[in-house]
C-alpha cells in the first residue's frame, strides 16, 4: 500500500452529496451489519470514517492513487479469492459508485484526515457534525423567552395597545406611516370573519353602527369571543394543524368512527378558553392525566384529546408491519414537533437534520415514546386493526365484554355443530366421487347434455354440472388431475376415479383434525380478549383435489343454506337451540359502551437508532429524551411507561421557549394574515426569521402570564390600532413595505372554503347551526369502486363546514378546488391559488345558484321593488351600506337583464342573477 492510501480528502459539497446518495447506503446496508463498532468481523469496522480509513485485518480498504488496487473493490467485484458481501454481489452501479468515490479520494463528510476529527453520521451540510456549537445554541428560536419592555415611539396617540408600540417603533424607524383606520363596516366584517368564520348579520351591523361609545369595538370582540361560532372557526384552524380527517387515507381508507369526538373536543376547548398548556398536555397524554375536575377515575376528555395522535394518515394494509409501525411513529413525531415546537424533527429519521441541530438520536429518542404507545388493536393482522378506547369505567366495559363473549361462545358452538354435520354429509358424498367423475367424463367426451346424463345415472344434475365445469377449467395447472386427463378410455379412467375416494376420506379426516386444532384455543382467545386466530381455508389444503372439490364452491361443496336444508333432524334441532340461546344473550347485552379513537400506553420499547432509517440496521441506544439543543441535560429519568406524560409536561412547560412562541404566532397570523414568523410550522433555520422578535417574545410572555389564555390573546391583538388599520395602501407606502413585513396595513385575505360555503348558506338563511356529533356512519371501508369511498358532498348539506366528515383519500371536490390542503401533514397556513375552475364554481355550480335563488326569492317576496331591495341585497352579501351608485347599478342590471331577455326571465330570475353577481364579486370573496 502507498502511504497516500489513507489520505482521504475533505469533501466538496457535491462529493458529500455523492457519498450520501451512492456510497453511504451501500456501506450501511451491505457492509456494516458485520463490520461495525460492535461486531468487528475480521477486525474491521466500517461504520465511521476513522474506523473505515483505519482498515481491518486485511489492511486498508482504499487506495486513492490506484483505485482499482483498493481492497474494497477487489472484494466487491468478486474477482479475488475473498468475495464480499458474502450474501450476493453488489449491483454493478453500486460497485461503480464505490470506484468513483475512491477515485475522488474517498471523501467522507465530517472527516478531516489532517485534523482527524470525525463526526459520525454528520452529513456535511451543517458544519459541526453532532457537536452542539455556540452558533447552534445561540439560534434565536432556542433562546428563553425574554421579557420585553415597550419600545419608545413618537406618535403616542396611535398606540392603543402594547402591540402597537412594537410595530410603530419599526415603522417610525423606517419612516413608513401606518395605514389609516378601516371604516366601521369593514372592521366589523373583518372581526366577525376572523373570529367566527361568518359574516356579520344585519342586526349586528346596525348595532355596531349605532354604538358610538369608545369601547364599541371592544364589545363586538367580547360578543364574538363568547359566540359558539368562535370555537368552530378557531377549532377548524387547529384541525388544519392537527391534520384532522375521519379516515386513515393512504391505502384502505378505513373510517375513524369516533374521530368527531376529537373534533368536538377541540371546538369546545376553544370555546371554553381551555388554557393552552393544558390543551397541549391533553392532546399528547390526556389518557394519563387526572380529569380536569380532579375527580378520580376515567379522564374522558383526556382520552378523546389523544385523538390528536391517533387520527393521522396510516397505511394499514402494508405487509411489512415493522415498516408500517415506524412510518406511523414518524408521522406522530412530525405532527407533534411541527405543531407544538415549529420544528421538523422527522427530517432526522435517516440522518442528522441537515440544517437544524437536531440529531438522529433525538429523533429516535422521541420515536421510542410513540413506539411504546398503542395505535392498533392488532397491528399484525393482514389489514391492521385500529384501536378504539372505551369511554366508560373499566368495570362497565368489562361487563359488556363479558356479556359479548357469551354471544361469541355461542357463535363458536354453532360453527362447530355445523362443521360436524357438514363432515357427516361429506363422508356420505365422498364414495360418490367416481360416479360423478365418470358421468362428467361422459358429458365432456360425448358433448352430452348434463341433465340427460344425470337423469340416466340418477345423479344430482346441479352437482354434475359443477363437476363438468371443474374438469373443463384446464388453463390452470393441476398436476393432481394429470393422470385423469390422460386416461385413454373409461377402463383406464375408472380406477383413477376410484382412487380419489379413499384419499379424499383421509384428507377429510385430516382437515377436521386441523379444524379442531384451530377451534381449541378459541375459548381461551375469547376469554383473554385476543383476536381469534384466522380460520384455515379448505381450498388451501395440501390435497388440492380434495380442497377444490369439497370447498363450498367446489363440485361437492355444501353451502350454509344447503347444510341447513339437508342436515339431520337432530342437527337441525341443535342449530335452532344454539341460535335461540344466542339471540337471548344478544338481547340481554347491555348498551354498547361509548368509544373513542385514542392511543393507549403499550409495551415500553427500548428504542435504538435505525441507521439510515432502516430498521434492520440497529445503531446506538436512543433512550427516551427530548431534543438536546432545547432540553439540554434536563431529560426524563427512569421513564416507566411510554414517556408521553413526560413529553407532554415538557412541551407545555414555560421553560420550553417554543410552546408559547409558536402558538402566539399562530394567533397573530389569524388576525394579521401573516405570522411574525411567516413559516408557522417551521421555526428552524430553513424557516423565516421573526420580523418583530421583541414583539413575539412580548406576546409569549403575556400569553404565559395570562394563564395561556387564547381568548385573552385575541383581545390583546384586536383591540389595537394595528388590527384596525385599513387594507388600502398608497404607492409610497407600497414601495416602502411591498410585502407588508412591517405590518403597515391590514392584509386583504380571501375567504377560506369553509367561510365561503358557510357565508353563502348563512346569507341565504339556510345555515344549520347544530353543533357536534357525526354525519358519518359505519366502520371499516367500502368497495374499491364504491361511492361510499367519497366524502359527503358539502354542496348537498347545510351544516357548518367544520362538521362535515372527511374521507381522507377522497376529500370533497369543493375542498380540493379552494385550497383546503390534504389533511395529512400539519398545515399552519393554507396555500391560496387563484384559478379558473374556482370561477366556474361561482358561475355554474348548483350550490351557488341555489343560494342566489333562495335569497332572490326572499328579496322579491319581502322587500318592495326599488332602491330598498338593492340596498338589502348589497348589505346582506357585502356587509356594508349600499351607495346610491351601487344600488342604481344593481337596479339597472336587474331591469335591463329582464328587458334584454324579455319573456324568458322573471323578476326573480333577474334577482337571482344579481345575487350571483354579488356572490362572485371580489368584494364578497375577500375580507378587507
Amino acid at each position: 500500500m502507498f502511504a497516500g492510501a489513507l489520505a482521504a480528502q475533505v469533501p466538496k459539497p457535491e462529493q458529500a452529496e455523492f457519498f450520501e446518495k451512492n456510497v453511504r447506503p451501500v456501506l450501511a446496508q451491505k457492509c456494516q451489519m458485520c463490520h461495525n463498532a460492535k461486531v468487528k468481523t475480521s477486525a474491521l469496522d466500517m461504520s465511521t470514517a476513522a474506523a473505515f480509513m483505519a482498515g481491518g485485518g486485511s489492511g486498508s480498504l482504499v487506495n486513492v492513487e490506484s483505485p482499482d488496487q483498493s481492497l474494497l473493490l477487489q472484494v466487491t467485484t468478486y474477482e479475488g479469492k475473498l468475495k464480499m458481501p458474502p450474501m450476493g454481489k453488489l449491483k454493478d452501479h453500486e460497485i461503480a459508485a464505490l470506484r468513483e468515490w475512491i477515485s475522488m479520494g474517498a471523501p467522507w463528510p465530517g472527516y478531516d484526515p489532517k485534523a482527524g476529527v470525525v463526526a459520525t453520521g454528520g452529513t456535511g451540510t451543517r458544519k459541526h457534525g453532532n457537536k452542539l456549537t455556540e452558533e447552534d445554541k445561540q439560534f434565536w428560536a432556542f433562546q428563553p423567552v425574554k421579557k420585553q419592555p415597550l419600545p419608545p415611539v413618537k406618535n403616542k396617540a396611535w398606540v392603543q395597545a402594547p402591540v402597537d408600540a412594537f410595530l410603530l417603533a419599526k415603522l417610525e424607524e423606517k419612516g413608513v406611516p401606518p395605514a389609516p383606520p378601516a371604516d366601521r363596516a369593514t372592521l366589523l366584517r373583518r372581526a366577525t370573519f376572523d373570529l367566527t368564520g361568518l359574516p356579520p348579520t344585519e342586526q349586528e351591523m346596525k348595532e355596531f353602527a349605532a354604538d358610538r361609545s369608545p369601547d364599541a369595538f371592544g364589545k363586538v370582540v367580547e360578543r364574538l369571543l363568547a359566540s359558539p361560532r368562535y370555537g368552530e372557526k378557531w377549532g377548524r384552524h387547529w384541525l388544519d394543524i392537527a391534520r384532522y380527517a375521519d379516515s386513515t387515507g393512504n391505502d384502505e381508507d378505513h373510517r375513524y368512527p369516533y374521530a368527531y369526538k376529537y373534533r368536538d373536543y377541540v371546538i369546545k376547548a376553544f370555546n371554553d378558553d381551555l388554557p393552552y398548556h393544558q390543551f397541549v398536555k391533553e392532546q399528547v397524554a390526556g389518557d394519563l392525566l387526572p380529569a380536569r375536575d380532579g375527580k378520580p377515575g376515567l379522564n374522558r376528555e383526556g382520552i378523546i384529546a389523544t385523538g390528536f395522535l391517533a387520527l393521522g394518515a396510516k397505511a394499514i394494509a402494508q405487509q411489512d408491519k415493522q415498516k408500517m409501525l415506524y412510518d406511523i411513529y414518524d408521522e406522530q413525531v412530525d405532527t407533534v414537533t411541527k405543531t407544538f415546537l415549529g420544528l421538523t424533527l422527522s427530517c432526522a429519521r435517516c440522518h442528522d437534520h441537515k440544517f437544524d441541530p437536531l440529531y438522529t438520536k433525538d429523533y429516535y429518542g422521541m420515536v421510542g415514546i410513540f413506539a411504546s404507545t398503542k395505535n392498533f388493536k392488532d397491528d399484525q393482522s393482514h389489514v391492521s386493526k385500529l384501536l378504539f378506547t372505551p369511554l366508560v369505567p373499566k368495570e362497565q366495559y368489562e361487563r359488556y365484554e363479558a356479556a359479548e363473549a357469551l354471544v361469541q361462545h355461542k357463535q363458536i358452538d354453532l360453527e362447530i355443530a355445523m362443521e360436524k354435520e357438514r363432515r357427516r354429509l361429506h363422508e356420505k358424498l365422498a364414495p360418490q366421487i367416481p360416479v360423478y367423475m365418470m358421468a362428467a367424463r361422459e358429458v365432456e367426451l360425448k358433448k352430452a347434455d348434463v341433465a340427460a346424463v344425470a337423469a340416466a345415472r340418477q345423479l344430482d344434475a346441479k352437482m354434475l354440472g359443477r363437476w363438468v365445469k371443474y374438469f373443463a377449467a384446464r388453463e390452470v395447472p393441476r398436476p393432481w388431475l394429470a393422470e385423469w386427463d390422460k386416461a385413454a378410455d373409461d377402463a383406464a379412467a375408472q380406477p383413477i376415479a376410484n382412487g380419489f375416494v379413499s384419499s379424499s376420506l383421509d384428507s377429510l379426516a385430516a382437515w377436521h383434525k386441523k379444524l379442531e386444532a384451530y377451534r381449541k384455543p378459541q375459548r381461551r382467545q375469547i376469554e383473554e380478549k385476543n383476536m381469534l386466530s384466522e380460520k384455515p381455508k379448505l381450498i388451501n389444503e395440501k390435497d388440492r383435489f380434495f380442497g377444490q372439490v369439497f370447498d363450498n364452491n367446489g363440485p361437492m361443496g355444501i353451502s350454509d343454506a344447503q347444510l341447513n336444508a339437508e342436515a339431520s333432524l337432530a342437527a337441525q334441532q341443535e342449530f335452532a337451540a344454539i341460535k335461540a340461546e344466542q339471540k337471548r344473550l344478544k338481547d340481554a347485552l347491555p348498551p354498547e359502551p361509548e368509544m373513542a379513537c385514542a392511543v393507549q400506553d403499550g409495551h415500553p420499547v427500548q428504542q435504538k437508532v435505525f441507521v439510515r432509517g432502516d430498521y434492520n440496521s440497529l445503531g446506538e441506544d436512543a433512550p427516551k429524551h427530548f431534543p438536546v439543543v432545547m432540553a439540554g441535560g434536563r431529560q426524563p429519568q427512569n421513564v416507566q411507561g411510554s414517556g408521553r406524560l413526560e413529553l407532554a409536561e415538557w412541551l407545555a412547560s414555560p421553560e420550553n421557549p417554543l410552546a408559547a412562541r409558536v402558538m402566539v404566532n399562530r394567533i397573530w397570523q389569524g388576525h394579521f394574515g401573516e405570522g411574525i414568523v411567516r413559516t408557522p410550522d417551521n421555526f428552524g433555520r430553513m424557516g423565516e426569521r421573526p420580523t418583530h422578535p421583541e414583539l413575539l417574545d412580548y406576546l409569549a410572555t403575556q400569553f404565559i402570564g395570562s394563564g395561556w389564555s387564547v381568548k385573552s390573546m385575541h383581545r390583546k391583538l384586536m383591540l389595537s390600532s394595528a388590527y384596525q388599520m385599513a387594507s388600502a395602501t398608497t404607492p409610497g407606502q407600497f414601495e416602502a413595505d411591498p410585502e407588508n413585513k412591517l405590518f403597515s396595513r391590514a392584509v386583504r385575505r380571501r375567504l377560506q372554503v369553509e367561510e365561503m360555503r358557510d357565508a353563502l348558506l348563512g346569507i341565504a338563511g339556510k345555515l344549520d347551526l347544530t353543533m357536534g356529533g357525526t354525519m358519518q356512519s359505519g366502520f371499516g371501508t367500502d368497495g374499491e369502486n364504491s361511492n361510499g369511498r367519497l366524502s359527503i358532498n358539502p354542496e348537498e348539506q347545510v351544516r357548518r363546514t367544520v362538521y362535515l366528515p372527511l374521507r381522507r383519500a377522497n376529500l370533497p371536490a369543493l375542498f380540493n378546488l379552494f385550497d383546503f390542503g390534504d389533511a395529512t401533514t400539519p398545515q399552519g397556513r393554507r396555500i391560496i391559488t387563484n384559478v379558473a375552475p374556482q370561477a366556474l364554481f361561482m358561475m355554474n355550480s348548483k350550490f351557488v345558484a341555489e343560494q342566489a335563488q333562495t335569497l332572490a326569492a326572499a328579496l322579491v317576496k319581502e322587500i318592495p321593488a326599488g332602491r330598498s331591495r338593492a340596498d338589502k341585497a348589497i348589505s346582506r352579501i357585502l356587509n356594508r351600506e349600499a351607495s346610491a351608485a351601487d344600488a342604481d347599478a344593481m337596479l339597472s342590471y336587474v331591469d335591463s337583464f329582464q328587458k334584454k331577455f324579455a319573456g324568458k326571465m322573471t323578476e326573480a330570475d333577474a334577482w337571482q342573477s344579481a345575487c350571483r353577481v354579488l356572490f362572485a364579486s371580489n368584494e364578497f370573496m375577500y375580507v378587507d
Partner: protein, 485 residues
C-alpha cells in the same frame, strides 16, 4: 353577442381599469424571484400576494424535451406481466414444481403454491418480433411502436402502497403526483383546459391522493373526469365539475359575467397593488372561455364512425375504455400536459386468473391499439409519450390453485411515442419472472426518466416545503438513457 343599445351597467361602470402591468404584478408578487422560487416561497409563507401570477402559465423546460405531453394508461389491480409481455420458458418447463427461491414478502397469507405457466400462448408481433401473449392481439399488432420495459421494481406489496408509489414516488407518505410535478415544472399550453386531467380515476388505494398536488399549490392537482364507480353515460353530461350552467343561456351568462367583471374592476381600482384582484378577474374570463370550448373537446360522439370503431366504441365490452382512450387523444391533441385513463380496479386476480384476465384484456386491448394507431396516423407520436402500466405484476407461483399474488419485484410496463425507442425491449426478469434481473428500473428511475423525456431534470425540479426541498424522486432516481430514442 349583440351589443345592447342602451346598457346602464356600462353607463355606470364605463371606466375600465387598466390591469396592473405585468412588471408591477411581478414585483408585487415575487420581489424579483424566479417563478418556481416564488411558488416555493409561498409555501414557506412568503408574500401574501401569492397566487396573482398564473400558476399554469407555460414555462421553459430545463433542456430540450423529447415529448411535450403524456398519456398514462393505468391498469388498476396489477396485470400479470408473465401472462402478457414477459414470456417465461422456464415456467412451461417447471410448471407445477415448487418455487425454487425463497419467496419475498408476499401479500397473500397462504403458503406459496407451485410455479404456474401462463395459460396463454405467446406469439411474436411486428418486425421486432417481440413476444406478446394472446391476451393482447391488437396491441401485438402495434408492438413495433412499443418500448417494453421488463424490469420495473417497486416496494409496495399491497395496492395502496404500490399505487401511491407509482404515482407519487412514495409508498407511505402523501406526496405530489407525477402529473402535478409535470404541470408544476412546465405549466400548460392550453389555458382553456386544466393541465392535468385524469379520466375515471380510482377512489380506492389512496384515491385522490394518487392524482393530488399534496403540498404543491392546489392548481397542480389532477382534474378528475368522473370516477371509477361511474358509467360513461353519467359522466358525459358534465365531464368536469361546474363546467355546465344549467340555468342560463350562454348569452345570458355573458351578460351576467360582464356585470361581475365591471363590479370587480371598480373594486380593484380602489385597491391598487393587489395583483390578486386582477388575477381573479382574469380567472373569470378564462373560466368563461373554458366552458365555451371544453364541451367541444368532450364531444367524443362527434368522431367519425371509423374512429369510434377503431377504439372499440361499437362493442359494449370495449366501449368504456375506448371512450377513455379516445377522450385522452382529444385532450392530448389540445395540448393537455398530462392525461391519465384508468381501467378501474379489475386486474387483481388472486383467483380465476384465466377468465378475469381474459375479459379485462378484452376490454382494453382494442381501445389501446386504437389509440396507438390513431396517434401515429395523426403524427401525435412525435410529441406524445404513452405509458401503459399497472401498480405491479403478479407472481409466477399460483395462489389458491388458479390465481396469482402481487409482485412488485420485477414487472413489465411499456411506453410508446416521443422519446423512447420503438420496437425495443429493455431489462429482464429472472428465469421464472419473479425478480428484475437486468437493468432494474425502480419506480424512482421510471419517474426520473419520464421527467427527462419531458425536458425536466428530476434533481432540479424541487419544491421547498417544511424546510426541505422535495422532489418526485425523493433522494433517488436514475434516468435510464438506454431506452431513449
Amino acid at each position: 353577442m349583440q351589443k345592447p343599445t342602451y346598457d346602464p351597467i356600462r353607463e355606470v361602470y364605463s371606466r375600465r381599469v387598466k390591469p396592473l402591468s405585468r412588471r408591477a404584478a411581478f414585483r408585487a408578487a415575487a420581489g424579483g424571484l424566479g417563478y418556481l422560487g416564488f411558488l416555493s416561497m409561498m409555501a414557506e409563507g412568503a408574500p401574501a400576494v401569492g397566487g396573482a401570477v398564473n400558476p399554469l402559465a407555460p414555462r421553459k423546460p430545463h433542456f430540450a424535451p423529447r415529448a411535450k405531453k403524456v398519456i398514462f394508461l393505468f391498469m388498476h389491480g396489477g396485470p400479470s406481466s408473465i401472462d402478457t409481455f414477459d414470456f417465461k420458458e422456464r415456467l412451461v418447463r417447471d410448471h407445477g414444481k415448487p418455487l425454487p427461491i425463497k419467496r419475498p414478502l408476499a401479500f397473500a397469507d397462504e403458503a406459496p403454491g407451485p410455479l404456474m405457466k401462463s395459460p396463454w400462448e405467446f406469439r411474436p408481433g411486428g418486425k421486432s418480433g417481440i413476444l406478446v401473449s394472446d391476451l393482447f392481439p391488437h396491441v401485438r399488432d402495434c408492438v413495433d411502436q412499443l418500448c417494453v420495459v421488463r424490469s420495473l421494481v417497486g416496494e409496495g406489496v399491497d395496492h395502496g402502497a404500490a399505487l401511491l408509489q407509482s404515482f407519487t414516488g412514495s409508498s407511505t407518505f402523501v406526496r405530489p403526483s407525477m402529473g402535478a410535478w409535470s404541470v408544476y415544472g412546465l405549466g400548460t399550453e392550453n389555458q382553456d383546459l386544466p393541465g392535468y386531467i385524469t379520466i375515471k380515476p380510482t377512489l380506492s388505494h389512496g384515491g385522490a391522493k394518487n392524482f393530488g398536488s399534496a403540498f404543491l399549490p392546489g392548481a397542480y392537482q389532477g382534474t378528475p373526469i368522473g370516477h371509477s364507480g361511474m358509467k360513461v353515460e353519467e359522466i358525459k353530461s358534465e365531464p368536469i365539475q361546474y363546467l355546465v350552467n344549467k340555468g342560463l343561456t350562454p348569452e345570458q351568462q355573458r351578460y351576467e359575467l360582464d356585470m361581475i367583471q365591471n363590479i370587480n374592476r371598480r373594486h380593484a381600482d380602489m385597491r391598487q397593488f393587489d395583483p390578486n384582484m386582477e388575477a381573479r378577474i382574469q380567472a373569470f374570463e378564462l373560466a368563461f372561455r373554458m366552458q365555451t370550448q371544453a364541451p367541444e373537446i368532450f364531444a367524443v360522439d362527434k368522431e367519425s364512425e371509423a374512429t369510434k370503431k377503431l377504439y372499440g366504441l361499437d362493442d359494449p365490452r370495449t366501449a368504456d375504455f375506448g371512450w377513455q382512450c379516445l377522450l385522452a387523444r382529444r385532450l392530448s391533441e389540445k395540448n393537455v400536459r398530462f392525461v391519465q385513463a384508468t381501467h378501474s380496479y379489475k386486474w387483481d386476480q388472486h383467483s380465476d386468473l384465466f377468465n378475469k384476465h381474459t375479459s379485462n384484456a378484452y376490454e382494453v386491448d382494442k381501445p389501446i391499439a386504437g389509440l396507438l394507431k390513431d396517434l401515429k396516423a395523426r403524427g401525435m407520436m412525435d410529441d406524445t409519450l404513452v405509458i401503459w402500466a399497472g401498480e405491479f405484476g403478479r407472481t409466477p407461483i399460483s395462489e389458491g390453485g388458479n390465481g396469482r399474488d402481487h409482485n412488485p419485484y420485477g414487472y413489465t410496463i411499456w411506453m410508446a411515442g416521443a422519446g423512447v425507442k420503438p420496437g425495443f425491449v429493455y431489462g429482464a426478469t429472472d428465469e421464472i419472472g419473479y425478480h428484475a434481473a437486468e437493468d432494474r428500473m425502480h419506480i424512482h428511475d421510471f419517474h426520473a426518466t419520464v421527467l427527462h423525456i419531458l425536458g425536466l431534470d428530476h434533481e432540479k425540479l424541487t419544491y421547498r416545503y417544511s424546510g426541505r426541498d422535495f422532489r418526485l424522486t425523493d433522494v433517488a432516481g436514475v434516468v435510464h438513457k438506454k431506452i431513449l430514442s
